[in-house]
Symmetry: C2
Subunit: 210 residues, 2 copies
């Protein structure tokens, strides 16, 4: 018995320092049948990067035409470079039941939801405490007070959007946080709406299909 299913876009957002990237990496390394969304970007390719694995590297003209054609699920400008998620490979993956992980901020999440609300499962990851968040931001910024203040302001801005997410997880322990995201993934796969093959399956149970 195999029931046809539809994939989901699993979105993880969090302030910098809440552990979202670590959780993403662990999810992809585990037995979760998850793939990471690959973005297109106008930023130059670095030596260690592979086209189609790390990014789709495209020129600015082509990127801007894709924006005009509505070919992106979400896009943004970061430090002058354009980044975006091409819609076509995602649509194709969802149709064959492949779930896709997105590590994006609240603005990207909002754009995804506008384009494909029913396929988005959004999770916001919070740090366990302000002290712990500050400690992690200190580590990264090597104690430059201005940089830390700027990062804290950015974290506060990101956290102010927690209520736009379906699920909220507090990352007080990385193993537990990962297990929680995996439980959400398991549960969401069991949603009736993500199992389009159920209708045919129930017919075999009731004898309608015979």
């Amino acid at each position: 018995m195999s029931i046809a299913r539809r994939g989901m876009m699993l979105v993880l957002s969090s302030p910098s320092g809440a552990g979202k990237s670590t959780i993403s990496r662990r999810l992809l390394d585990g037995q979760n049948r998850l793939t990471m969304s690959v973005s297109a970007t106008t930023r130059p390719k670095r030596a260690n990067e592979v086209e189609g694995r790390d990014y789709f590297f495209v020129g600015r003209d082509r990127f801007e035409k894709m924006v005009r054609d509505g070919a992106f699920l979400e896009h943004a400008t970061v430090f002058g470079n354009l980044y975006g998620t091409p819609a076509a490979p995602v649509k194709e993956a969802l149709a064959r039941g492949q779930d896709i992980l997105f590590d994006i901020d609240w603005q990207g999440t909002q754009q995804l939801k506008e384009k494909a609300r029913d396929d988005v499962v959004s999770i916001f990851v919070l740090p366990p405490s302000r002290t712990e968040l500050e400690r992690r931001l200190h580590e990264r910024a090597e104690d430059d007070a201005h940089v830390i203040a700027a990062r804290m302001a950015k974290a506060n801005d990101e956290m102010s959007h927690w209520a736009e997410y379906d699920y909220v997880i507090v990352n007080d322990d990385i193993v537990r946080a990962q297990a929680r995201v995996e439980a959400i993934l398991t549960a969401e796969r069991l949603r009736r709406a993500r199992q389009p093959g159920l209708s045919a399956f129930v017919k075999t149970l009731t004898g309608e299909g015979t």
Copy 2:
């Protein structure tokens, strides 16, 4: 860090023979912090039953007054006896973050959803195949053809309501089926809407609360 949460009504429905009662018992026996909803009934108390644990035993007049007063979340007549879920203890449990398990049919589920849509998480359990369902119904009915035909018709009627549920699980293996329900329970507890304490917690993170 402890975040105030709101309980849910976890509803399991299935045709007879799909294993719902076994899953319910295993869920209650496990470390799931789940309690079973206790129904009121007009049926006479049996020797081994305990008032308030198995049922609330009430007279027919009192039951009918409770129906008129809207004191039930759902109620039904089975073989001439009245059964119903009193709303007050459920509301009280949900408010203190206690999750409650309901083992009810599609009609009861529909009534619950009319009364308290946001607090209901509904799961439909399907058997793995028609052959397996027939086998299980045979075992129970001791091979009386009329009884089996009647049970199969009832099972088909119940199964025709699968699409009214949030989640659908195929019970091909009891351990896996239990794990799936537990993943749904874990995930639903992490829903933003079931964690009313988040708002206060995020304030402590952003410094607003200090």
